[in-house]
Amino acid sequence: MADETMDLTLRVWRQNGPDDKGRFEEYAAEGISPHSSFLEMLDQVNERLIHQGKEPIAFDSDCREGICGTCGFVVNGQAHGPEPATTVCQLHMRNFSDGDTITIEPWRAKAFPVIKDLVVDREAFDRIISAGGYVSVGTGPKPDANAVKVPKPISDKAFDSAACIGCGACVAACPNAAASLFTGAKITHLALLPQGRPERGQRVKNMVHQMEEEGFGNCSNIGECEAVCPKEISVSNIAKMKREYLRALFTDS
């Protein structure tokens, strides 16, 4: 089966470090198979750039299966591109047509400085987790795993929140560059489970504080984050975070 290939024009953001102003540059992507992924399309463009003695387009990726959260950039104005619930490594070129022009740019947020081209620094997310996104248990003998039952619906809901891959699309899509979906998902995951309950008040206060410290914006309930989330994390996680926060203010001293 010889598949048709397509020719595309790419407008790609090139930026040589955080202090560089950056600019769009145009590249031809020719002979692209509709079965290749978006990142494999970029791989092919990069191979040609290398042969021409030019610097390839810098982008991050690792698992290329939609689970590690390493990849991510904005495609035609949408974080992770046009297909819902899909990271850019799982986006296939059959979503585009021969002759298309595709604009590619990095996540843009104050808290995610650009490292190079499409690569950004997301360490702010790790610092939010450090501030309290865990259950404080050490390694060692623990009660039997079945000692505390967790109703299946609760455990399933906790899983839905825990499925966040920390890619940062929510921040990139938010006009305020807020990190509320990311932070809310971790707070919800742990607040739902009995193991996470004892620390829930302190946790939400510390994590929200850290989120502000990092320079993320405030959530004004726009909902773009949910729309672009490759794991379909619901905005109800943000509502839960806000409720947890209020609860903590009134119940903990």
């Binding site: 390839p56 990726s61 360490e123 790790d126 996104g133 865990y134 795993a145 079945n146 967790v150």
Partner: protein, 641 residues
């Protein structure tokens, strides 16, 4: 050749780990903070080890290539993690998990290590639940289990199809907690490029900052290497793009022995390659073989026809034909080998000439109904369709084996210490527990067993016994290692300025050659050719590789070039190991050594052992041997007919 001593404790199998723990020397609480420990890697093994060591009070430095420790390759594991909780009351026990692991590994692993793994497995589940890992549960609120990879008991715990993700996030969160406490310093976007050995002891590492290109020195009292497997030597595999062997290889070149490099697991059910632009292969859970039937056309001429036009009598359900007892459920290695054979015969059904066989759900859908199949495999079918644009409810899936896991790795003793004092190796990077073949859902178990429950104690014992003097990064050994690393990179960049072949072009060629000659099925002749071709390719790399950009900032291709340079050396010892292991066992199939009906033939008299390779010079190794003593199980032959 010397015989290696695995340092196994005395006593009956089930008492060995207790006995060893009682012998282990302890570091006093006040002294722990005087010790610096380097942990390379933040997958399940590394994150759990670093978190636990930090919590115990040591000063830990933790390193990973990714921009965050949470993104290590372990995140991609799907199916589950084994443990002998025996919650379903179906007769599981520590002994049974131990025996299954030993037998699955085709009697080429160390009894004592494998038994300990089965012993501590239950603790992992308790630990993970306490951390808030949302495992699947039954309606009654208890944990759910399933049977995995042909096991006769249901001992696999899972979190939908994302078990690795949830376990890793649990370990990552424990790690970040220690970062907050100041006990772990995190170094993301760093690549370890050398091990610093002073007076025969591992005392530090050299890393490259992947954003600025700077060389950095880190000194410590012990180094714990948790850098994952080397499956990416085949270029195409189910492993993540950045998975590599460099950290392990640099330790090897500094004296750590590499054991059983030829043991590579090739997983039968992956989505086939669809073009030569492809960068990785996606695993489809092997549970699909419970209901899917594997076939290819009987006649080559039919291969290009749409499958529905091939009548029943012209289809060859080759696994059912050759293995009537197990049929489509034969173990991974048998399924993979047979897929290769039918494709070698020209009966491949891949798109555009790619190699593939059918995995057909037509009969299952007819018998059980579409809904029942959707219930079981809905998400997998969805993923398959998303990638291939073909609907497996309507047309058979196309699958082909892909490299998945490496059982070989740095040699370690019972304490998970390499032959170099102070260098510990955990997770997929070591060789110890899976023999010649790993069972499904046992890698996650091993990574966390090593990291949470074994290494933190054995490292302490080492420190208490050796009391290493403080080490500073201005020691002249650090000067020397840093300089050598710098020169290595400079040499690549110098060639890279004028070369003509891209890193990826050479890399793909290495992958293909390894796949063809050091893959599913091997011959003496093929292995010798492979060695020759690997050397030629290595020459090409060092004379004609093209590398863009500069060494002083983010340069992905330079990173990959460095990893490829090491793979080009590792590949050779893999071929050599495969050539010298003149038997077939587990995933290592030598065509010369098979039974009359084409099955793997072990040679227990000569090869009930581990080969551990000691690096001498480029392309030169000395072989050492560890004899495997089986005191508790009887060596038997697998049969699936």
């Amino acid at each position: 050749m010397t015989t290696l001593d695995p340092n196994v404790p005395d006593g009956p199998l089930h008492k060995k780990w207790d006995n060893r723990r009682e012998e282990l020397k302890l570091v006093a609480p006040n002294n722990k903070k005087k010790h610096n420990i380097i942990v390379v890697g933040t997958g399940l093994a590394g994150a759990s080890a670093a978190a636990t060591l930090g919590e115990l009070g040591y000063n830990v430095k933790s390193f990973c290539i990714q921009d965050s420790p949470r993104r290590a390759h372990s995140i991609a594991a799907q199916g589950g993690i084994n443990a002998t909780k025996n919650y379903p009351n179906d007769g599981d026990s520590i002994w049974r998990l131990f025996y299954d692991t030993i037998k699955g590994g085709d009697f080429r692993s160390r009894e004592s290590n494998t038994y300990r793994l089965a012993q501590v497995a239950g603790n992992i589940i308790d630990q993970a639940v306490a951390q808030g890992v949302p495992f699947a549960r039954e309606y009654g609120g208890e944990l759910a289990n399933r049977s995995f990879g042909g096991a006769q008991v249901s001992r696999t715990f899972y979190a939908r199809g994302q078990t690795g993700q949830q376990l890793l996030l649990g370990a990552y969160q424990a790690l970040q907690r220690q970062v907050e406490r100041g006990k772990v310093q995190m170094y993301p976007r760093r690549e370890m490029l050398d091990l610093v050995v002073v007076d025969g002891k591992a005392r530090g590492i050299i890393t490259r900052n992947l954003v600025t290109g700077e060389m950095e020195r880190h000194a410590g009292d012990a180094v714990v290497l948790c850098s994952g497997g080397y499956g990416r030597v085949y270029f195409l595999s189910t492993n993540a793009f950045n998975s590599n062997a460099t950290a392990a290889w640099r330790c090897h070149k500094r004296g750590a022995m590499f054991a059983n490099p030829c043991y590579v697991q090739i997983h039968p059910t992956c989505i086939p390659q669809s073009g030569d632009y492809q960068s990785k292969l996606t695993l489809m859970s092997e549970s699909l073989r419970n209901d899917g039937r594997v076939w290819v056309p009987k006649n080559k001429e039919d291969c290009s026809k749409p499958p529905e036009q091939i009548p029943e009598e012209d289809r060859d359900y080759y696994l059912e034909r050759r293995y009537p007892a197990f049929g489509n459920l034969v173990p991974r290695d048998v399924a993979s080998r047979n897929a290769k054979y039918v494709c070698d015969e020209g009966r491949s059904v891949g798109r555009g000439g790619a190699r593939a066989v059918y995995l057909d759900f037509r009969d299952a859908i007819e018998e059980q109904g579409r809904e029942a199949i959707k219930d079981k495999y809905g998400n997998l079918f969805h993923m398959y369709e998303k990638i291939t644009d073909e609907d497996p409810y309507e047309v058979p899936m196309r699958i082909y084996p892909a490299v998945h896991y490496t059982m070989g790795g740095l040699w370690v003793d019972y304490n998970l210490m390499s032959n170099l004092d102070g260098l510990f190796v955990a997770g997929e990077a070591n060789f110890s527990d899976h023999g010649a073949n790993r069972l499904g859902a046992s890698a996650l178990m091993q990574g966390l067993a090593d990291g949470y429950f074994i290494v933190p104690h054995t490292v302490g014992d080492y420190l208490a016994r050796h009391r290493p003097d403080p080490m500073r990064p201005d020691h002249n050994k650090f000067d020397q290692c840093e300089e050598e690393t710098r020169q290595h990179i400079q040499k690549m960049m110098d060639v890279g300025k004028n070369g003509s072949r891209t890193v990826i072009e050479i890399y793909r060629e290495l992958g293909k050659l390894m796949y063809d000659k050091v893959g599913v099925s091997r011959t003496k002749e093929g292995l010798e050719e492979a060695r020759e071709e690997i050397r030629e390719l290595r020459d090409q790399f060092w004379n004609d590789v093209k590398i863009p950009g500069e060494a002083d900032n983010y340069n992905k291709m330079l990173e990959v070039a460095g990893r490829l340079a090491d793979f080009l050396e590792l590949a050779e010892v893999m071929a050599m190991d495969a050539s010298e292991r003149e038997e077939s066992c587990g995933c290592h199939f030598r065509e010369e050594y098979q039974s009359d009906d084409g099955e793997a033939a072990r040679n227990d008299d000569e090869f009930t052992n581990v080969f551990a390779w000691d690096y001498k010079d480029e392309g030169e190794w000395e072989k050492h041997v560890e004899d495997l003593e089986f005191e508790n199980v009887e060596l038997s032959t697998r049969s699936y007919k």
